[in-house]
Subunit: 308 residues, 2 copies
């Protein structure tokens, strides 16, 4: 069974030792040999010439374009430093790099349909990191303006001295099953009235284990009690920065009492319907695409012996 | 094998539906029948009369003491609403509730030696939640002063409209093994020069899976490559608010190259030494106590058939 999902597979060495050295970061971010990924409004540049790929600027191009936004260090590949630079607030040519048609900016989700696994992994890191800096310019502890440090790995507060790290939010997502039946739900606002269903999910709260979060979320959303929670695999999900923790669990009860505020429907689906839906051949049920870990945990239950 | 660690086992129903209702929260926080856990400087009140237990104030006591700090809703138990109220900034009698010797304030770690599992679970939630509110009075997006909402489940920003949720930081901790040998390390500043070692650990970065975080952290701290990463169990760790994700992994290499800045030592320990240390009987090695998930993942490797 494969446990490597879309957005995993980032080949960059994050350079934990190197990025502690401010001089090293400054030198490499001014180096002509370094590579810079321009990101605009959280979209990434994809070229479709000669097979799709991410578009990186050289240090010279970055200088010529006067991209003054502080680059975030992503990591090293074969000794070359890779950065992402947010051009959302750049002027003229620097913001309109896509104007000559050499590439186009696409959102991270669409990019997964064009790029290889390694590039998708880089996109996940870059999107989460740029978004976090864009939304964390102030110190939550004292309100002062913070500054980026360690190549983007932290933000420092000159007011109270706090050091802030990017946040990653753990989310549990679970395929709950009872014999030949699987519990699937439809969130409000997401495909209400359609035949789109997915595994139930929610953020891990403070002070609970993964297994407790699974039991609480399933109970809250469906009224079903679970037992034997089993970890399956995990996936980085950069919208904006979740860690999806995929689990399987057995239902200990069967009567659904859905949370009407969060869910528009929760119901049991028979394995035959789920198997058809996994291959896209069911009128009754549409499941998430293989992009999402939901697809794989549902498949792991429905077709436990298949090579995923 | 038990997968329920200290700080798991919180019996409260977090009342996801109830806490969306501001009026319900207001009514219950003014209700004489509700219970309030006074927390001071992140320490919890423990009474040792008639067996150790957490000390809860009634709604009447809270009113009489003029505890005006906004209580945070923890959850429901048998229909009774439970809150935590931070008395760190209270005046006189309200801050010195322990003065009559009825109970004493102890830190969350020491409390685990006095309290039952259910109470420790409540302590984990209360400590993480109080600490988060204390350190998040300002909006990281715009710098405005934020206000608590939904009984403490969120903070709202009147400046930019952002809604902020408490943060939980996923941490991977891994027992890496190679035949009869286990890789353990000693962090700088923590017991340097002693015989105290533990499993290697680190925060999950943005854009990586649990399995990738394990491989990166082990490589960074020890220079060892790993394969076959396997999830074991998880533990809430309220210092200040981590989710410990315990794993086992096989070493793919054996030569250690430790990160001298973070680690004062990393080395291989033989299973016999580890087994003695787990029972507290080794002069060569001291391992974390059963309080910590580290103890249990190391035990799961060293004594895979023991009932933990």
């Amino acid at each position: 069974m494969s446990t490597s999902h879309t957005f995993s597979g980032n080949p960059l060495d994050r350079g934990d030792r190197e990025r502690r050295d401010d001089e090293w970061i400054a030198r490499r971010s001014g180096d002509a040999a370094s590579r810079f990924l321009p990101m605009r409004d959280l979209n990434v540049p994809v070229s479709e010439a000669d097979g799709a790929g991410l578009v990186w600027l050289s240090g010279e191009e970055r200088e010529r374009l006067e991209l003054t936004a502080q680059p975030l260090f992503l990591g090293l590949l074969n000794g070359t430093a890779h950065f992402v630079v947010d051009v959302s607030k750049a002027d003229g040519a620097a913001r309109e790099l896509d104007q000559d048609g050499r590439f186009r900016y696409v959102d991270a989700r669409s990019a997964t349909e064009l790029l290889d696994a390694a590039s998708c992994g880089i996109v996940a890191q870059a999107r989460a990191q740029v978004d976090w800096h864009a939304r964390n310019g102030f110190c939550p502890q004292c309100g002062s303006t913070t500054t980026m440090a360690r190549g983007g790995q932290t933000r420092h507060c000159p007011g109270c001295g706090a050091i802030h790290y990017p946040r990653t939010d753990p989310v549990v997502i679970t395929a709950v099953h009872s014999g030949d039946w699987c519990l699937l739900g439809q969130s409000r606002g997401r495909g209400t009235g359609s035949n789109r269903y997915s595994a139930l999910a929610g953020f891990v709260d403070q002070g609970e284990s993964i297994e407790e979060a699974v039991a609480r979320e399933i109970m809250e959303e469906s009224g079903i009690a679970v037992k034997n929670v089993r970890y399956h695999s995990s996936q980085p999900w950069p919208f904006p920065s979740s860690l999806m923790i995929g689990c399987l669990a057995e239902a200990a009860t069967t009567e659904i009492s859905a949370d009407d505020e969060e869910m528009s429907d929760v119901r049991w689906f028979h394995r035959d319907v789920v198997v058809s839906a996994l291959d896209g051949g069911s009128n009754e049920l549409t499941l998430p695409a293989p992009l999402a870990i939901a697809h794989h945990i549902i498949r792991a239950w429905a077709l436990p012996h298949s090579q995923d």
